[in-house]
Amino acid sequence: MKGNEAMAEAAIRAGCDAYFGYPITPQSEIIEYLMHENPAERTGMVVLQAESEIAAINMVYGAAGCGKRAMTTSSSPGISLKQEGLSYIAGAELPCLIVNVVRGGPGLGTIQPSQSDYFQAVKGGGHGDYKLIVLAPATVQESVDYVKLGFDLAFKYRNPVMILSDGIIGQMMEKVELFEQQPLLTEEFEWATVGKKPGRSSVFVTSLQLKPEEQENVNHRLQAKYREIEKHEVRYESFLCDDAEYLLTAFGSCARITKKAQEIAREKGYKVGLLRPQTLYPFPTVAFNKLAGQMKGILTVEMNAGQMVEDVRLAVNGQTRVEHFGRFGGMIPDPEEIFQAFEQKIIGG
């Protein structure tokens, strides 16, 4: 299946109650697939094409506030428009799923794949001290699995979850195994607007606190939640790190290309490991910190001008050199040039 269509099918199967979206390349197949599938008949899922990404994220906010599984998908320029809404959702502690099938920027940029929205996804993007849980799939299979995982994490922590995909994975065809159809949620959450029942006080979904003391308390609560997420939800994959003297690291589609570069390096006799973060927030800080001691150098490979490299440097905390190699603006690196960059920046440098 095509990555985008597989995610759309996964959304139906994950028991998503409501999808709101606005077309943008390279992810329009998601809403097209959903409209074609007509899940209203299959599961009762609502699918609506909104008038803008701003409207779509606020529709998600409304549905999520009702305690429903709500999601939206877009690509970079559209995700920029959603940032105010995401901040409100994080502030009101609502669960929801957002997919960003990243394309090259800045501005209207290009419709070709990129990873240049890492900072926006991981560091907040909107206003205020908040975090999204950010999942970075490298395969169509992971894209599918992360839709289900994303909803589970969103409800576990009452926090927005973003799948940071890109134009490669979104457009690529791969074999996938789809999970079984999950039922729609029937639970009435005590935090959700479902209609005020006699005997209980009314619920309000809000991110507003007029008193600074109260707003500080909200922030303390959010930060405590983020510490929990950092403790329990870090996910990453490592290849051949035990004997490694050098480390390559990359996320998403770029990690697949980097794995090929690792093979080239191994063939040439360099003991190179690879670490692929699957969660970008929470970041595998501890894993990097532990591995750094045995490494003579670390190269991050990204389809951007150097974003994840900052988190790797923070994690490594000066134990070894951390360099970055990137292609950007929609260009995709090939394994050979990654290997050359490794030789130049890490071996030669």
């Binding site: 109650d17 008038e51 701003i54 409304g62 709500a70 409100y88 029942k197 309000f204 809000t206």
Partner: protein, 253 residues
């Protein structure tokens, strides 16, 4: 407490349970408080408190959920119709309303307003038009009248450079998605009663699934207009009503 002091036989008025017993933050003489009460009484009289979900705007009525005793969601500035759409689409049997000021509904949220109305979302939009941005200290709104002074039109609204006041209610009435569009006020007892009747009707229509109901309430803003409450009501009659005439604009056939 009040119950114990008054013999129930003599009780002529009781605060509805749909309004919380909280001191409102609105300025003396402001129309928001009365508009809240009419909406609350309409919900109460229809017996739909447990099936109603409201959406509060950003503006003076940002804390509407603090006063209205129904489940409510706060929306980002201008986005209430989109939030209400999200709610109504997952709960089509509930009664869903938004309560929005003119900056919220007719400036930053114009797209959301028009498209919710054009899709014919089965929601009630209550539109409080006071011709000014009250919350942020009296700046010009899209609805500010020609020549009307505000903190960002200190010499009066100049049409040639600041544009024209927007008649949002007439505009949405053009859309096939709206079912009932009407304009009222809450500055006299007679008008208050009419407003409540309109709100009740609009909520009842929601069960028919015939489209968006839109109730504008032209309101005063004594603080923003820099007038006493009495002066502001007079000024409203003399200046606002000629441009924003009261009455039904679109009624069901």
């Amino acid at each position: 407490m009040a119950d114990s002091l008054i013999d129930p036989g003599n009780l002529v008025y009781k605060r509805t349970d749909v309004l919380n017993d909280r001191i409102m933050h609105y300025c003396p003489g402001c129309g928001h408080g009365t508009a809240h009460r009419m909406l609350a009484e309409a919900i109460d009289e229809l017996g739909i408190q447990s099936e109603t979900i409201g959406v509060a705007p950003v503006g003076c009525s940002v804390l509407a959920y603090y006063y209205l005793n129904v489940d409510m969601s706060e929306a980002a500035h201008g986005r209430a119709p989109a939030v209400a759409t999200g709610i109504k689409r997952v709960f089509p049997e509930k009664y869903v309303f938004t309560y929005q000021g003119d900056g919220d509904l007719a400036a930053i949220g114009t797209a959301e307003t028009i498209h919710a109305c054009n899709r014919g979302e089965n929601i009630l939009i209550v539109f409080i038009n006071n011709g000014i941005y009250g919350m942020t200290g009296g700046q010009m709104a899209p609805t500010t009248l020609e020549g009307m002074k505000s903190s960002t039109s200190p010499r009066g609204r100049d049409i040639s450079s600041m544009g024209n006041p927007l008649k949002m209610t007439e505009l949405v009435a053009q859309l096939p998605g709206t079912y009932f569009v009407t304009r009222h006020s809450v500055h006299t007892p007679a008008n208050v009663r009419k407003t409540k009747r309109a709100l009740k009707k609009a909520l009842e229509y929601q069960k028919l699934n015939k489209g968006t109901c839109f109730v504008e309430i032209v309101a005063n803003c004594p603080s923003g207009w820099k007038m006493t409450p009495v002066q502001s009501n007079k000024w409203m009659e003399q200046n606002m009503f000629p441009f924003y005439p009261l009455g039904d604009i679109k009624v069901p056939e």
